[in-house]
């Protein structure tokens, strides 16, 4: 590793173990179905009763999003944007930027695709300026972007002037039978319980949703 490489601003920010200051989801698939209506109607014993297909499709989307959020990992691609502070050594130096969200690598492809690396320049008002794709590359071993160098006109008035946009890849987990079964269990629960309250006490079954998904939850170190 080059001796001049730094890891952004996180050495002075112990509350955030990564180098980003802010992250947001900017695009998420809320229309494509993951579990098929055939699988759902078999699970619910509705079989060919198609009169609730629209309602079931909505439940299916909620189920998939809940599982993605529980795992902390996308099943379908999600686009994120993260903001980073500019350190003195960002200009003209090789710098690493952690990406807090990642999908699972599959068939030689890494889990993330970098869409754009940009920075706010020193104009007044600052303008978001895209960095050439030849100036950076993705490091799948540590899930971060290595930027060779930024120009020396990074804004000093924008709090976090470096912006990276990336998309998680479609996750092979989506085809795992155990993940799909967890989805069907959760969907059955949502189908059968349409209120936030119940009269009696409910108990989780052994090997329920949480236990089926637990081994696939990525460890955050």
């Amino acid at each position: 590793m080059p001796s001049q490489m730094t890891s952004g601003s996180f050495y002075g920010m112990p509350r955030n173990p990564f180098s980003y200051e802010k992250v947001e989801q900017i695009s998420r698939d809320i229309t494509s179905s993951w579990l098929t209506l055939e699988e759902i109607t078999q699970q619910l014993n509705l079989f060919q009763d198609e009169s609730q297909d629209t309602y079931l499709s909505g439940l299916e989307l909620a189920t998939r999003m809940a599982i993605e959020d529980y795992l902390g990992m996308s099943i379908f691609p999600i686009t994120y944007k993260a903001y980073y502070g500019a350190t003195n050594n960002a200009m003209g130096m090789q710098t690493a930027y952690d990406l807090p969200e990642v999908s699972q690598g599959f068939r030689g492809q890494c889990g993330n695709v970098i869409n754009c690396v940009a920075y706010y320049n020193a104009e007044n008002p600052p303008t978001l300026t895209t960095v050439s794709s030849t100036e950076y590359y993705y490091d799948p071993s540590a899930n971060r972007v290595i930027v060779n160098s930024f120009p020396n006109d990074i804004s000093t008035t924008i709090a976090n002037p470096i912006v990276i946009t990336w998309q998680t890849r479609a996750n092979p987990l989506s085809a795992y039978p155990v993940i799909k079964q967890a989805g069907l269990l959760l969907l059955t629960h949502l189908y059968n319980n349409r209120s936030n309250t119940t009269d009696g006490i409910r108990h989780d079954i052994p090997f329920g949703v949480a236990q089926l998904l637990r081994p696939y939850k990525p460890l955050v170190m």
């Binding site: 079989f47 009763d49 059968n192």
Partner: protein, 114 residues
Amino acid sequence: MSIARYENIIVNNVTNGIDDLGQYTTTITEWFKTRAVVSDVTNSLRIAERYRVYQDLVNLKLNYTPWVKQMVDNQELFSITWREQEWRITDCREANDRMSVTFLCYYNQPNTPV
């Protein structure tokens, strides 16, 4: 908890009409296949003067869906095929939480001489 006794059933449309000769006709056409929880299967025998009359009864519990609500509202317009016999609906009971409907269905076997 044991496995619930779900069995495949077919819901049929029943259409009554009158043919060219003035005879009443009943047309049965399949509407959709689904599954029901089968319970309380009973076979009763009533001996009349000349015939033995067998009447089978069964409870079929279905999920409450828009199509099942149509069956509740117009129970005379539907029949249910189960165990390769055609069953007619005599009673419908909606669950109070509107999550299921239980149909009491009957099937008359042909009269048999005593």
